[in-house]
Symmetry: D2
Subunit: 152 residues, 4 copies
């Protein structure tokens, strides 16, 4: 199983030099918690909503400042053709919650801890067999609007 | 098993009226991703780092604005004496990632999805028996400084 | 959450003195992998299909022999009113796959590792939220007749 | 990740024509719950301790009878070079608890549901990071002799 099969979130990206304000708008519009920063298509950094909050309110950066000084860089990545098992090892050693996915040095997606938990869940379901489906017949409660704003 | 045994994060809280800037500072100092808002000790709201990022950079609120207009309210909670199973059900229906924990109407902690995943992990370890420990003998990689900044 | 909510298998039981042949028939008829042995309603032992196989074919016991010399005794148990968490701890320390469940010194059920794995699965589903259900929309393959004969 | 990395149990096998008594002895000696039946190295069937118990005590077969009429055949298998993900799918659709592992039409191992649960557990540990190890610092109770006789 490849990384490409588990990554569920297309990467939202902005070019270097984008103002903090615009990065926040992208996060709001696409309902994601992190944005990739690229330069000529090449990965330069990654920034989370938390990074933005601390930059604007704790460090006091202006909303018009470029994202470049706020983004984390360099970035730990995985390759789209990697075995998913390699991604697990990378999460274990890197201590992060999201990994940009590269194909030929370009970002084609993001792999999150939540994507991986879904993978774990599916595997457990496979092992439990039909009983897993019967257990989940009970409806999961109202599809919550909050799920859109879950940290990606 | 009670909620009190699983909640690992003491709640970081601020009074209503606290400026956004100060809330961001508390999040940075304590390495948490959400802060409880109280009034005379009573829970009034909850705010995440993402809420702060969007308020300051997307909505354009000033750093001196009070947290009151930004916080989510009312807040879904669990009781410190609840069975942990009730907390699972609440997570299922509420679609959130953290629940303030109340004791006599006062917030005594926060229960996060990550706390609950640890509970799931421990249960699985209990079922696998000694083999679970042998599997984990391999060191988990360098204790990452990043773990401190994981979203709480 | 109590043990009573997780135990899915009514206990199949036989009185002390029952011949091995009859115990095997009960296991075949009810599709279970273990049988409780009682005396005047009180728990005396537990026997698995494996115990029967080795007794009859490795030790060479006759099919008319009483189950008493084959059953494991004494038996580690849990109480029907115990918190499910206590059952996890018991599985961890006891190294067995099934625990008879007692109510007022009488056996009212059996709690298996498989019951507990279903509990773990449900908790993980609760944490993942609606996405868990969407993942499992794919049918689990033909409901297999083999599930009936899975070791209880 | 390949099937070869997850299969922990070398396959115990007997040739077709082996008496039931001898198959039970192999199960007892190697502490396994199933045995592969081969003919000239080629897989012909698989038999569990439960199959033996019912054959000897419910069906009344003599201990000197050949295993051939008791074994399940044909047998669902996986290939040693298969991605582990293919094995999950096979478990899901086949409704069995163990799959012989083939390499060039010869059995080189057995993959069990328990092996796969260990794989699930490791993945979850990878995602939880260092906290997973700290949780498991508590000793798992006395290393139980029972683990040897757990159904393979």
């Amino acid at each position: 199983m490849k990384v490409s099969e588990a990554m569920s979130h297309p990467a939202v990206s902005v070019p270097t030099g984008t103002p903090l304000r615009q990065v926040a708008r992208e996060m709001a519009e696409y309902g994601v918690g992190s944005v990739i920063v690229t330069e000529g298509g090449a990965l330069r950094g990654i920034v989370t909503d938390r990074d933005l909050a601390l930059a604007a309110l704790d460090s006091g950066l202006d909303a018009s400042e470029a994202i470049d000084s706020v983004m984390a860089s360099p970035v730990i990545t995985v390759n789209v053709a990697d075995d998913i098992h390699a991604a697990y090892r990378t999460f274990r050693t890197a201590g992060v919650r999201r990994l940009p996915v590269l194909e030929d040095h370009r970002v084609v997606g993001v792999l999150t801890v939540d994507d991986m938990l879904i993978d774990v869940f599916q595997r457990l379901a496979d092992l439990l067999g039909p009983v897993a489906w019967s257990v989940l017949e009970e409806p999961p409660g109202p599809p919550s609007a909050d799920t859109r704003s879950r940290k990606a």
